[in-house]
């Protein structure tokens, strides 16, 4: 009977993982959408909910990798007290993460420009100074002059009054005298309210790097994409070791959190910074482009070996 429960627990791991990924994706998507809506808010016009369905896939694609990887660590940490067969558990998780990235990531990826809420909308707040790409523009409140007028302040130039402001496409506004100004992607007046702190911002940048890496690999080569997601899935599944690495679960939790953070940092460092160095040294594109995957695989193998050699009741039960 013990074997049945342990097998059941191992089998439940991927189910918990899928559920956790779904919950995290929903949660992060919700907050990303709130942030996007807020950052494109124009006073007096309310929030622009139209086009939400179109952009939702773009938002999901940005946070899916984060949810998929975070879910692995959470499932392992919160299941560390459960008894389950390690090896089946490891294989199930590997399969679940691999399938999740194989089937769901391509579904969310590949949204071309225009699917993002911020990419093309012209955002100007009337009655306020709006930082634009090359200067600042002030638009009068419409009830003051009864027409679309304002002034432009470009660094090093005189203040220029402009009128007949017409929003064009792709964040460009055109004036009656033919002059054009390109606005920011988000509302510069309100976007600082939604901007993450630098410490968290760096992490979000690393996540974006992984997401972009997956996207470009998917576009470039199917085999390479499979290798990438396999390496990532193997590394994530092997991180189950971390949830049992000491007798103090808090430490396991903290180490898991740290490794979760490092996963993204590792990819960016090896794909961008070290990768660039390696290109100049090795002059072998294939070797340098695949470097991050090999790093993930090597790290995963080391974790599995550690588990087999040093952790009690390895590969049988907790």
């Amino acid at each position: 009977m013990i074997g049945f429960f342990e097998m059941k627990s191992a089998f439940l791991l991927p189910l918990k993982y899928i559920f956790t990924t779904a919950v995290l994706t929903a949660l992060f998507t919700l907050f990303s959408l709130l942030s996007s809506w807020g950052q494109t808010f124009i006073p007096g016009e309310g929030l622009h909910f139209e086009g939400t369905i179109i952009i939702i896939t773009s938002v999901i694609s940005r946070i899916f990798v984060l949810s998929a990887v975070l879910a692995v660590f959470l499932v392992f940490v919160f299941s560390s007290r459960k008894r389950y067969f390690r090896f089946p558990g490891f294989l199930f998780m590997l399969g679940a993460v691999f399938c999740m990235l194989l089937f769901f990531f391509p579904f969310t990826a590949g949204n071309g420009p225009g699917s993002s809420l911020e990419s093309h909308k012209t955002i100007l707040t009337p009655g306020a100074f709006n930082p634009v790409e090359k200067g600042i523009i002030y638009i009068t409140p419409s009830d003051i002059t009864g027409r679309n007028s304002g002034v432009i302040l470009t660094e090093g130039e005189e203040i220029t009054p402009v009128s007949g402001i017409q929003p064009d496409y792709n964040r460009i506004i055109r004036f009656s005298d033919g002059r054009t100004v390109r606005t920011e992607k988000v509302n510069p007046v309100f976007s600082p309210l939604f901007t993450a702190e630098p410490f968290l911002g760096d992490f979000l940048d690393d996540i974006t790097a992984v997401q972009k890496g997956l996207n470009s690999t998917l576009d470039r080569s199917r085999q390479e994409y499979l290798l990438f997601i396999f390496a990532l899935a193997l590394f994530c599944a092997a991180c189950g070791t971390l949830s049992r690495i000491s007798r103090w679960p808090v430490v396991n939790f903290i180490i898991s959190l740290g490794i979760f953070r490092l996963t993204f940092l590792l990819y960016r460092v090896f794909s961008e910074e070290v990768g660039r160095e390696m290109v100049s040294i090795l002059s072998n594109r294939l070797a340098t482009e695949n470097l991050p995957y090999f790093i993930f695989i090597i790290a995963a193998v080391l974790l599995v070996i550690w588990d087999i050699l040093f952790l009690k009741n390895n590969w049988k039960r907790n």
Partner: protein
């Protein structure tokens, strides 16, 4: 059996949290000492900066420290009891934890005080140190320039200014000594030159007695008797027995005394006429003209009481309508707010926008540089558009009449690029924003953290009327209030998490203790993520619904989160592993 009761947990938790907070403060203070940048701050500020910056960083990270302390405490406390041989997992964990809630609340209040009371004050002190560093370094550079150009007095004044900020700086002290030495050498040289001239009785250009006598004769023939007397006297000084020089001196003096009475009358009439001219200018409110006039007269007639009196009166009236260029020269390197831009007026459809390159706040007034102002009418035609290099805020007026003390041709007045204004108003603009608020009116201003909640609230109204949106300020106020709730709620979640992840009861995880210093770094991400989510919620609901509904919604959310934290806490297993 000594059971671990509520009071025991309370006192131990207090001690553990205190240790973590002290450790956190120490860490950030040491880190501040390491990252101190002498390029930005004078070395004299090292200790002060280290302590202040350490405190600021500690306050910024108090939540993470608290969460770490609570997790560690609640995951270890019962293990340590087991080691002592008294196995005491309380039968109702939540009842024990409940006593800790009071302590967590106390820490939340301390956090509120530190974050909203101490932090803005400390941040402004850091800004002040940066400003003083900039000022001191500017003064030192000035002192070096003045030394090189031989303006020793000004150099000494500048270096004295530096030494008031950094009195122990050896380089400045040496520069001060060098300047003093150079200045005394300069004075000695001047004095010896004068003495020599006095002793020899000749100008340094060096004429011979014959040449001087010849000049005396030439001037005498040209009926310039005073010049003739002067050169004859110089010749006599060199050669007291020179008969020809004596003759020219005597004859010139005779001619001068004969013409004396008529000349005096003429001079008096001339002086009276000139004084009247200045007085008329003063009466006609042409203060600048009157100033230059009386300045010239004061040089011409230094003994005249009337002239001195009117010059003083003119100067007094001048300070209300203009300022001197040398004031600008002295203060332009001082730190100040940059790239100020605001809507000065929006009345009757007229739009008036003022841009200021730099604003310097001093006790004697607020000085402005690189001014540009534009006023547009209802149809958006330019009423006027001006640029001025300098301005000074005088009684809520921006005065742009920058005058030279002696030379009217060097005066700097606004240049009208288009449009015009009445002549008497052409150099002034009425400011609708007070100088204290102007420093925040920058489209890229990101220093909200330095401003206390009451000041933010007051500034929101200013922003609304000066071409800025008040939403970011009000949202910042709400976010800061929510952070206090977050501190408490996260502490409760940390208690649950610590308890949930307590170790097995067989052995204490001694080796794992070495990982404790790494805890805050990992947990910081969770804390930041939680705060970022709160930030998004606050900002979104505030923009969507306005202040009161947003506050209502956020109170409900915080109550739900607090309740969830308590439920999770109460729901923790009390079974031994």
């Amino acid at each position: 059996m000594a059971r671990l009761n509520s009071r025991g947990i309370f006192s131990r938790l207090f001690l553990v949290l205190l240790c973590f907070h002290a450790g956190g403060f120490l860490f950030f203070t040491v880190r501040s000492a390491v990252i101190f940048r002498p390029a930005e701050y004078l070395p004299i500020f090292f200790t002060q900066w280290t302590l202040i910056n350490g405190t600021i960083e500690y306050v910024r990270n108090m939540m993470t420290i608290q969460v770490t302390g609570a997790i560690v405490f609640f995951s270890l406390i019962f293990t340590s009891r087991k080691r002592a041989g008294t196995l005491n997992v309380p039968s109702f964990f939540h009842s024990v934890a409940a006593s800790s809630i009071v302590l967590l609340l106390v820490f939340a209040f301390i956090y509120a005080g530190m974050a909203e009371g101490a932090k803005p004050v400390l941040l402004s002190k850091i800004s002040s140190m940066k400003d003083r560093t900039e000022l001191a370094r500017g003064l030192l550079e000035d002192a070096k320039t003045y030394k090189a150009s031989g303006e020793y007095e000004r150099g000494m004044e500048a270096v004295r200014g530096y030494l008031r900020i950094d009195p122990k700086n050896e380089k400045a002290q040496k520069l001060s000594r060098d300047l003093l030495k150079d200045y005394s050498n300069f004075l000695k040289k001047q004095t010896s030159g004068v003495e020599k001239e006095e002793r020899q009785g000749i100008p340094s250009s060096g004429y011979t007695v014959e040449e001087l006598t010849a000049r005396a004769e030439t001037y005498f023939l040209a009926e310039d008797y005073s010049s003739s007397h002067y050169f004859a006297s110089l010749a006599l000084a060199l050669d007291p027995g020179n008969m020809k020089a004596k003759a020219f001196a005597a004859r010139s003096l005779e001619k001068l005394s004969r013409a004396g009475i008529n000349r005096e009358d003429e001079s008096q009439a001339d002086k009276f006429y000139k004084k009247k001219q200045g007085y008329d200018a003063l009466q006609n409110n042409d203060i600048v003209k009157a100033y230059y006039h009386f300045t010239r007269l004061a040089l011409e007639y230094p003994e005249d009481e009337d002239i001195r009196k009117y010059l003083e009166l003119t100067k007094q009236r001048l300070t209300n309508i203009s300022f001197f260029r040398d004031e600008i020269n002295e203060i332009q390197h001082l730190p100040g707010s940059r790239n100020i831009l605001f809507l000065n007026s929006l009345e009757e459809g007229h739009v008036e926008i003022i841009s200021m390159g730099k604003v310097i706040y001093l006790q004697e007034g607020t000085y402005v540089m690189d001014i540009e102002a534009i006023r547009l009418d209802r149809l958006f035609r330019t009423v006027y558009h001006l640029q001025a290099p300098y301005g000074k805020v005088i009684d809520s007026m921006l005065n742009m009449q920058c005058i030279d003390r002696n030379d009217p041709s060097k005066n700097l007045l606004p240049e009208y690029l288009s449009g015009s204004r009445p002549e008497d108003l052409s150099h002034v603009l009425t400011l609708n924003a007070v100088p204290e608020d102007i420093q925040y009116l920058n489209p890229n201003f990101r220093g909200l953290e330095e401003i206390s909640i009451p000041r933010l609230w007051a500034l929101a109204k200013v922003f609304e009327s000066r071409g800025y949106r008040s939403e970011p300020l009000i949202a910042e106020c709400i976010i800061r209030a929510v952070n206090i709730f977050s501190f408490f709620i996260l502490s409760l979640f940390a208690v649950s998490l610590g308890w949930m992840f307590r170790p097995g009861m067989k052995k204490s995880p001694t080796l794992a203790f070495i990982f404790i210093p790494a805890f805050p770094f990992a947990l910081h991400y969770l804390v930041l993520l939680y705060n970022q989510m709160n930030r998004i919620l606050v900002s979104f609901f505030y923009l969507l619904t306005g202040f009161l509904p947003a506050v209502g919604i956020l109170i409900i959310i915080q109550v739900i989160l607090a309740a969830a934290a308590l439920v999770v806490l109460a729901g923790q297993s009390t079974e031994r592993e």
